[in-house]
């Protein structure tokens, strides 16, 4: 598995340089292995979404480089990369098009890119949806199904395009914890079938350790890796991991670091990021 190798190299991001000059990301370097699930944990507003937006191509960087599979996405000379289907974002509040049915949403990518004929796209979409346990909801509109289902449909929509990486921006933040735990297992199942690189932002340490190969704990703004944890629990994992001894140990190791940053953020009065 050699796809989806992302290198974040000494990236700096300053917002509104002539005005308030807010330093959001401060010389951040991080390397994400191909096919790895890399979790980014940090308090709200610390700048982790800025990083994701830079990789995705929604925002510019001020200096530094981001490289994926040897190709320079953005750099000091070319501060903004173009968004594309090689690294697809799954958004916090969901971005399934409410005016298209679930099926229409899922086939959107390959059809607009001209990669698949409509009929073939529909067949592939049906198969992938069935695989993810979503067989009955094809003709419904996103507004008619539960938010957990919407998330899964969105992930399937992304995977239809065979991306190198999935960029997930706190996708389960708005779900209740019961639904969340089922979603985690669903995500892992999908991951085991399609080994994409996953770049997952969250503020939930348990979620991070449960899902990730590695967990990068970020400082509060300006954002920069404070501590990187190797999660040495074997895959495939199931919810039983949550009560295992090793899991608790890992949380003990990292909890202090996370709490420290959370406290700093709270004192700085960060608005919700």
């Amino acid at each position: 598995m050699n796809r989806g190798h992302i290198v974040i190299d000494d990236v700096v991001k300053v917002y509104d340089p002539q005005g308030a000059a807010v330093l959001a990301v401060d010389h951040c370097s991080l390397e994400i292995e191909p096919g790895e699930i890399c979790m980014i944990v940090g308090p709200s507003g610390c700048g982790k979404t800025t990083l994701l937006n830079a990789i995705a191509g929604f925002h510019e960087i001020t200096s530094g480089r981001i490289v994926m599979d040897g190709e320079v996405l953005c750099s000091t000379e070319k501060p903004k990369s173009a968004p594309g289907p090689d690294r697809i974002v799954v958004f916090q509040n969901g971005a399934l098009f409410p005016w298209k049915s679930n099926l229409e949403n899922v086939i959107f990518g390959p059809v607009v890119q001209g990669k698949l004929a409509r009929k073939d796209a529909i067949d592939k979409a049906r198969a992938m949806l069935a695989d993810a346990g979503l067989a009955g909801v094809e003709r419904n509109y996103p507004g008619e199904v539960s938010s957990g289902m919407r998330r899964r449909v969105e992930i399937v929509r992304a995977l239809m395009n065979d991306p190198k990486a999935l960029l997930l921006d706190e996708p389960y933040r708005a779900l209740d914890s019961l639904t969340k735990s089922v979603m985690h297992e669903a995500l892992l199942e999908i991951y085991y079938k399609n080994k994409v690189t996953i770049f997952f932002i969250t503020h939930d340490l348990e979620e991070a350790i449960f899902l990730g190969h590695r967990v990068a704990i970020m400082t509060t703004r300006p954002c920069k890796p404070k501590k990187i944890l190797n999660v040495d629990i074997a895959h495939p994992r199931d919810y039983g991991v949550l009560t295992s001894k090793r899991f608790r140990e890992l949380i003990e190791e990292t909890n202090d670091a996370v709490h420290e940053e959370a406290l700093k953020a709270f004192q700085a009065g960060e608005k919700e990021g």
Binding site: A56, G57, F58, P83, G84, P85, R87, I88, V89, F91, N93, G94, A95, F97, P98, W99, K100, F108, G109, V112, Q113, G133, L134, A135, G136, V137, R139, N140, Y141, G143, E144, V145, S146, G148, M149, R157, A158, N161, L178, T179, S181, V182, M183
Partner: protein
Amino acid sequence: MEAALRAGEANGAIAALRDATPFRDAAEALLQRIAAIARPARFGAGTRIYGANDAADDIFVLVSGRVEHVFKPEVGAREAHKRMTRGGVFGWAGLLLGQTQRLASVTATEPTEVLRLDTEELVKLLESEPLEGPLVMERFATMIQREFTLPALLAQVRRLSGPLTEEMSSISLTMYRLSLWLKSPRPYLMVIGFALFLGFWYLAVEVWKLPRFREMPGVTSVVKEWLAPEPTYGLSIYTAEYYQHIWMSVWRVTQAFFLATLLGVPVGLLLGWSRKFKQYLFPVFETLRPIPILAWVPLAIVMFIATESAVVYLAFLASFFATALNTMLGVESIDESYIRAADCLGANQWQVFRHVIIPGALPFIFTGLQISIGVSWFSLVAAEMVSGQYGLGYVINTSYMMVRYPTIIIGMATLGIVGYATSAMVRIAGDYLMEWRVRELALTER
């Protein structure tokens, strides 16, 4: 004897079904059909009825006795163990989306009698009942979530499909809503409201003859005139002239509205979509907009040789501003995430415009169109009063000058009706184009 026995059995079955949550309020006819496909069965104490991961073929309705229902842990139910007696329903896993296996194991703790319903047969039966079928399914869903405390993720019941149900669904939904409305106090309050209004009008003008009201045309004279085959003043539902006037006004509004939409929607889309375009055009737009449409009347008469064009122009102008503005707001209100998602998925600018911007702005556009048609009528009437021949505004104006007071009211009432009808047509067109929104709103209705 056998027939009587079977009839007795059937009644017993129906009684048992009535005690079960999903079938509690169902119509007698439906219950009879369900009872017909129900197969009674008996289990001794301690017998296992089925185990988890068995095929989910039958749904069980408890008639008598007691069972213990244990979910397998993966399901994540808040209450894993559940005891059930008469009226309990279990074995419904086959009704859930994506489930073919049992989610629990069930054992009879006492001698137990049940009714078995084959899942697929039940679903087919419900599909053939366009009004009641979906309601029963909904009750199943509620029961599963509430009484069995399953996480919402799993407890999604299948959608009833089938051409009959799909076609009928909007009609049956409307009928159902209508029946609910009729049962509420609303229609009666409405009648009271109109009675008060008309009653006051009648009394004030014709009975009490209050000071300012005496001069006004009374309800009875208006109604008599309106419905008279030979109206005193020449205008009633029986005269051709009445419809000519209506047609003239409607035709003018239609022209104005369509022109305004044809021009206004693209301009609004561009204003919202392209920053540069907005910077160039919006100042001019905003400078012209505050000028009241009717202030244009003399200029319009000067500009246009034919009064007809002048009148349509005025109605058009009002519509245009409303449409363009609302369209622009609609585009600007689209959540950025949708555009970003489309970018990620490889759409080019034009595809984003077609697949995201236009559908996304549609709700606002239709609000704008409803406003625009109202505004169009507003300007049209004024223009007709000032410089028209034919048309409802003209009718009102000349009726006043010729001291035909009841006809004034007829004109006003007709305007109201026609104005409302055209507005409703726009709204219905919108509902048709935006089915997704209608369904979404229906689900979130309080």
